[in-house]
Amino acid sequence: MTESKDEQSGESSKNSSSKYMKIPIEVKARPYLILAPSLIVTIGILYPFVLAIIYSLTNYSFRSQTYHFIGLQNWVDMFSKREFWHAALVTSEYALASTGSELILGLGIALLLNRDSWYTRVLRVLLIFPLMVAPVIAVLIWQLMTNNAVGILEKLLNLFGLFNFPWASSAKTALFTAVVIDFWVYCPFVIILARAGLQSLPKSPFEAAKIDGGSAWFTFKTITLPMLKPILYIAVIFRLMASLQEFTIIYGLTKGGPGNTLMNLSITAYNTGFAFMRFGKSLPYILFLWLLIYIISQRLVKNWLAVQKAASGY
């Protein structure tokens, strides 16, 4: 990541002296000093992260005052539990389903919005509203929609001959319900980014394609999509990282239920740590999740930088 950034600045090394200020030695410490408050504020909070690694090697629990090191026991325990593999599966299902649907449909809707008329202008403003709603409040709103007593969706489904659709209360439809809520909140995020990307596209390749008589699909596939890639990567990075660790929507909806249907890694770590007070045991779950997110984000950011380079070659 850092490497590729350096490459970029290496390219512009000729004018790098004009990009950054020349700093005399005596003020070399200045940027660090200016940044220090930001780092103090956040590292004071990040210190727990180091603690988390240490405590994951102990049998610390909120029940007793004393604890001792037990090596990798918590980690071994975790990997040998079916609970862990279930949580890992739920985590990936949720992340792929929500990020995937948001990316594909978000891009589609951005394309639909990408022409100028009175209603697209109005919708561009209105459609950001769900993104502003707190995820936990979104759960509340969707309970008002899906509840069989007052929910209007029940009436709608009745028209199609579906009665008592169970939504979050059944193991078969709980994941679907959670993903619908995630999609409702975050699809506008992808729409906003994709539309910004579409607007920034140069006109000439499209005019050329029109003259050549290329079909709409061909134009989309060979021109629009490659040029949109950098921005879509950003959307994927943000959404994937967040949906892998989603806690709020699932906690608000069913606290991981029914049964253990929606227990992803975040919820399992929370349950083990807070509900069962087994602190040491809960940490490997969340550290594993963090590691997963870290590796994926490194990979995606690297790809993003490569794709961005390729796209700017047009």
Partner: protein, 275 residues
Amino acid sequence: MKAQYSRGVLGVSRSLLLAIYSLFALFPLIWMIIISFKSDAEMFTTTFIFHPTLSNYYSVLVGTDYLKRFLDNLIVSVGAVIVSVIVGVPGAYALARYNFKGRESLAFTILSFKFAPEILVILPLFMIYQKLHLYDTYLGLIWVYQLITLPLLIWVLRGYFEDISLEIEQAAQLEGYGWFHVFQKILLPLIMPGLVSAGLLAFIFAWNSFTFSLLLSGFKIQTVTVASLRYVASDTVHYGYMAVAAAIATLPEIILALLIQKHLVRGLSFGAVKG
């Protein structure tokens, strides 16, 4: 003829798809408003035609501590944004203007706070906060909210600082103005629109945050997002109250979103996309 016809079909289906999505995105909000004005008596018997009443609003705002929770949320979120602005604006400036060792690593370290699982921070912090007596305090929440607000402000503002040409700054320095004077009198006014919109977006994120306040507070101090959970899924659930709680928590953000539309792309992408 044929081409014209198929273009017509295409246009109609485009509008239809857009209409379906818009209904899906906006109707839940409308439904929330409708239910919030419905009395318990009409809750199960009517759909769209009913006698609107303010009784739910009265019950929630006067009959419960929801207003106090609203205030708690406001104090914590505003506090978090203020702290982030104070430490983050100079930080963003340093990252934009100085070419120093470890610059990108520091910038990415700050960004990585956004992607760190909240539960990972909370588990150990829960114990530390109890030792330091920060558990269930405004200060404790404002501090941990820095993980939400600070990366956003630093990354967005860094971009705004980079947009200002260095010549402006150098010209002022040649006039003999000191570093801080230039920063305050020339740079700050130039980034002000960006700062305000990034600050408001950070406020929205802080306002919406749930996990930190669920697990690091809850007795004396409770945010709206946490407080609203009590209206969910109990046997004696009042759907009207639930709708009111949701509507009150959502309203400020919709207003703010309208104010910062133009800067939204840039803020949401942490400055990666300059919309």
